[in-house]
């Protein structure tokens, strides 16, 4: 819109990578990935509406290697976004904003998402 030179904050490349910024970026990335899952969810429900044949067709895609890989990816994206989302909600109340808490909760989210992903994957019997 405007070509006038205005002060800009320095961009990503000047910063040293830190856990907090990596998790912030991952929160957005997993959120976008989960948003794409809306297409799969709609496809699944419409397949059920379209009858047994369409439903089994969807099932065969879901059980293919690529299907399983996508479901595993969505499962991890979900556990991460869920746990890190709780971290964000706590921040909204003004708590855990100090450096120590932000890092402790960050490591907890990473560990928790990996443990939950593994636990749910095996509990579901894959």
């Amino acid at each position: 819109m405007s070509n006038i030179e205005r002060p800009l904050s320095p961009h990503l490349q000047v910063y040293k990578w830190q856990l907090t910024m990596a998790l912030s970026i991952l929160h957005r990335a997993t959120g976008f990935g989960l948003a794409l899952g809306a297409v799969a969810l709609t496809w699944w429900l419409m397949a059920a509406v379209n009858g047994e044949e369409a439903y089994q067709q969807f099932q065969s895609y879901a059980h293919s290697f690529i299907g399983q890989l996508m479901i595993f990816g969505w499962l991890w994206a979900f556990t991460f976004h869920f746990l890190n989302g709780i971290r964000h909600l706590v921040w909204d109340t003004g708590k855990w904003l100090d450096l120590k808490s932000a890092y402790a909760s960050g490591y907890a989210v990473v560990a928790g998402s990996l443990v939950c992903t593994g636990a749910i994957w095996f509990a579901a019997g894959y």
């Binding site: 948003a35 059920a48 439903y55 089994q56 869920f82 749910i120 579901a124 019997g125």
Partner: protein, 132 residues
């Protein structure tokens, strides 16, 4: 009034228009949190029913989906999650797409996509309950 040589980060066009923000940012922020809160129990509910979701037997799946508690929870989940996703993707578009025309096209596509997919899901859940 803004002075000629006054230091400001507001753009010249923004200053000339003098309208400030669109004043719907707070509602966007708030609804993102409201839907997030709703999704905590709703997603745990479906995580708990993961074996039914992964069900490969067609009639068993329909029977599960036609249970009133499941059907209502499913509709609530679709509304909360698609609304949450719509708000999130909107922020991503506003952050990264700067060309005005393309940005408006992306924002419209985002809204149409989630409304279209969302109503298809709700229709499917109702259809499974009442027509199958």
């Amino acid at each position: 009034m803004a002075h000629e040589n006054e230091k400001t980060i507001r753009s010249a066009l923004g200053r000339a228009r003098g309208m400030g923000s669109a004043k719907d940012g707070t509602h966007h922020f708030w609804m993102q949190r409201v839907t997030a809160m709703a999704l905590l129990p709703l997603s745990l509910f479906f995580l708990w029913h993961l074996d039914s979701i992964a069900e490969s037997d067609y009639t068993a799946f329909l029977k599960w989906m036609a249970h009133p508690t499941v059907a209502i929870a499913a509709i609530l989940f679709v509304v909360a999650s698609f609304y949450h996703a719509l708000l999130g993707v909107q922020v991503i578009i506003e952050d990264y797409v700067h060309a005005e025309g393309l940005k408006i096209a992306c924002l419209l596509l985002n809204k149409f996509s989630f409304f279209g997919l969302g109503f298809a899901c709700i229709f499917a859940i109702c259809y499974i309950n009442f027509a199958l």
